[in-house]
Every structure is written in C-alpha cells, then in structure tokens.
Symmetry: none
Subunit: 264 residues, 2 copies
C-alpha cells in the first residue's frame, strides 16, 4: 500500500473513471463467456469457462481497486485532498498471480494439443508466470529507483522465457490448426506478446522521469488498458477461435456471430 499525495483533480477523475469503465467491461465479458460456453463443442467449454474466470477475477479486483482509490482521496469544494488512507497497489499483483497463469492455460487449451503436451505447457508456463508476478511486486512497492530496476530485471527473465515459448511454440502449432482459425491464432499470439510487453513498459515509466500525479496516472491508466486488452479483448479472440474450431470439428457451418452446435 502506498500514499499518493500530489495529484490533480483531472488526473484523479481520469483514473476513477478508467477503473469504473474496467469493472463494466470485465463483468460484461464474464457473463458473455459463461453464457456462450454452452454453445461450443464440449472440448472448448473448459477454455471459455477459464476465459470467463479471468475476467471475473479481474472484475472483482477492479471493484476493490476502485473502492481503495475512492477512499484515498476526498474532494471538497472542487479541491482534491488525500484522506491519509493508502491506495492498495497489491490488488493488481494478487490479481495477476491468479489471472496470468490462467490466461496462458486458456490459450494452451484452445489450441487442443495432445493431453500430455497440454499439461506440460500449462505447468511450465503457469509456474513461470506466477514467478514473474511474484518477482515484480517488490519492485512495484520499492521506494528507490534502483530497487525498481533490480526486481524489474528479475521479473523479465521468466517473462522473456514465456514470450519466447509462445512465439516459437504457437508458431509451430499453427500449421496443425484448421485453416479457418490460423489467422485468429496468429493474431492471438501477437496480441499476447504485444499486450504483455505493455506491463513492463508501464512499470518503468516512473523510473524515466515521471513523478507525482503524472507517474500515478501513467501507471494506473497504463495497467488498466493492458488489463482490458490482455483479458477481455484477448478473451474474445479465444472465444472466436473456439467458435471456428467447434464448427470445423463438428463439420457444421455456423452463421456469423457465434451460433454453434445444434444440439441445443
């Protein structure tokens, strides 16, 4: 938890509204994924259930983040003042500790690899992802620039292994996917690599000269955008891949928009 003292009313409001916007996106995405999962071919329901769990967990944490942000400041006659209560940074890390491994697992599951390969990749990448988040946290709450850099470098090691594994691993398995989803899988691969790279970039912003309210705004808005892209938007790609693969495997043509298996 840490105390943010200098922030303008405009910056405070921007962050406040960004958090609320994210709650709406995460909750709506969750309901969409859960309701649609029943229409997919049975194999893909696990992946989409997990996709919905990721946005559910993120929605819960944005509720907490929003409440913590609201409690940290008070506005009296148009002037913003800190209340003295700390803003809890840890919610993001607690969230990532759960959601980042699950995001990797949803991507691995939707690829429908052989069972032993699915288990092996899930355990390896899930563990590396948890390690990455655990190593990042001491840096986030570090008061010194050197402390931030040290933990950032430590967290970048598992990060780079994951990115490399996804880059190479997914490239190799694209050729085994039905032709109708190859473009989507390729996009999901780049979306993962792109949105994930956003996090360490946001992390270093306060070390590159940004201070006070500017640093807080850049970090909070930056992480929020990264969360929306890597969880809700990425989840939509996972869903579309599951829809197309359900069609291809069940040999049924489904209309656009994701109507699926006719056994309902």
């Amino acid at each position: 938890m840490h105390q943010i003292t200098s922030i303008s009313l405009g910056q405070y409001s921007l962050i406040y509204n960004a958090f609320s916007f994210t709650i709406a996106i995460m909750c709506a995405s969750t309901i969409f994924f859960f309701l649609r999962s029943f229409q997919l071919a049975p194999y893909y329901r696990t992946a989409i259930t997990i996709t919905g769990l990721v946005t559910l967990i993120a929605g819960y944490h944005y509720f907490r983040i929003f409440a913590s942000w609201e409690a940290a400041f008070t506005i009296v006659d148009g002037v913003i003042k800190p209340t003295g209560q700390s803003f809890n940074d840890a919610y993001r890390y607690v969230d990532w500790l759960l959601t980042v491994p699950l995001l990797l697992i949803e991507l691995i599951l939707v690829m429908r690899l052989p069972r032993d390969q699915t288990v092996r990749m899930s355990v390896k990448l899930g563990t590396l992802a948890a390690l990455m988040v655990i190593l990042g946290y001491p840096g986030e709450v570090s008061m010194t620039s050197s402390g931030r850099w040290l933990w950032w470098v430590a967290a970048m090691i598992p990060f780079l292994i994951i990115i490399y594994d996804l880059y190479v691993g997914l490239r190799d398995s694209i050729s085994s996917q039905p032709t109708s989803v190859r473009g989507l899988v390729s996009t999901a691969r780049w979306l993962t690599i792109g949105s994930w790279t956003f996090y360490p970039v946001v992390f270093v912003l306060p070390m590159l000269g940004l201070t006070g309210g500017d640093a807080s705004t850049a970090v909070q808005v930056g992480y929020t955008i990264a969360d929306i892209v890597s969880k809700a938007l990425f989840g939509m790609f996972i869903y579309l891949i599951a829809v197309r693969k359900s069609e291809a495997e069940e040999g049924q043509q489904m209309p656009a928009g994701g109507r699926l298996v006719s056994g309902d």
Copy 2:
C-alpha cells in the same frame, strides 16, 4: 472474538491481501465447479456440486473475515492503529463446521463405493470432522497456553481417527479405481492428509513462542494457505478424478482439458 493490538503495517497488509486473494480464488473455483459439473457423467455431478459448495461457503466466510479484519484497524498517514473493534475468529470455525464434513463427503462420493459404504463412511467421518472442529474452538479462543493445549489434544483424537481411516480406507479402494485415476486418487489422499495436518500445526504456533503480530500473521496466513490447498486445490483434484472416471465409465476417450460426456 479477540483483540490484536501489536501488528506492523506490513503484517497487516500481508494478511489483508491474503484474505482478498482467497475471496477471488474461492469465488472463481465455485463458478468453475458449478459450470463444469454439467459436463460430467451424472453420478459425479453430486460430488462436484458439493466441491463447489465448499468453496462457496469458504468464499462467503472470507468476505466476512476480510470485513472483520478491515474494521479492526485503521491506517492514518501510514501508521496502523487498532480501532478497538475485535477481529472475529469464529468465522473460521463456523466455516470448518460446514466445509470439513463436506470435503470428506466429496472425496467419498468421487470414489463411487457401494451405496451402504458411502453412507456409512460419510456419517462416520462427517461426524468426527464436526466433533474435531467443535473441540478445537475453545482452544483457539483460550487465553492460556494450557487451555490451547488441552483442547488441541481433544481435537486431535477425532483428527487422527479421520486421517487413519482415509489412509487405510483410500489405500484399499485405490485398486478398485480405473487405472487412469489411480495416480490422482493417490495424490488426493496425500493432499488431504498433508493439508489437514497443516491446521493443527498452525494452531500450535502461538504456543511455541510466537507472540503479538508475528503470531497473528503466522496463524492467519497459515490457515489461509491451508484453506486454499484443502478446498480449492483439493477440489481441482476431485474434479479431475471425476472427469477421468466419467471418461472411463462412458468408454469415451476425451481430449485434454476436460472435454466430457457427449450426452448433453
């Protein structure tokens, strides 16, 4: 209820974030088990529904525990102070009174023993589990070390009978399980014995010299980890056993990731 007076801000925050993390895990696990239960062979749906009820009940209690923890302290300008409100320990025991018998029942159900044996074991182990929790509580709130030890010893009697029954009972029934789940059942058996043993160990920490904030942190974080392992992680093993047994009994090969019965 009891009053915790000396705790550092770091200890307070660690416990606070551990409680919030557990709410997220329990809620996400509940939704996962409930949604996935429909994909299992009908016999196993009861076991997985109960698995979800355990995490639901735990999620509810962690909401209460979190609120009680938040109300017990206030942070003003980075300094932590007790508000004078007590932290309610009883939530954990009320939770265990419900969830511990249910955990045993979900394990017994997923084994699919003959009906009379299922009923006999559920009644016997469920009753012993409730007795164990009831005997532990006076010790938890006891102000004296001798009081803690006395009730600890009393609660250990039903505890050891349960552990012995699981150790011997599950070992004997492993050979009647399909080969594809024997490894998982064996792991679930050790996970139960291991995670359950964690509780009496955490209980004795304040009697082994830990005091004040250190004792509170060890007890709260210790019980929280034990709850996550024995409810959510154990529940995942029960789920995987149910998936594999559904496959084996329906004579269908299912791909990785838990695709299941087509009879839906």
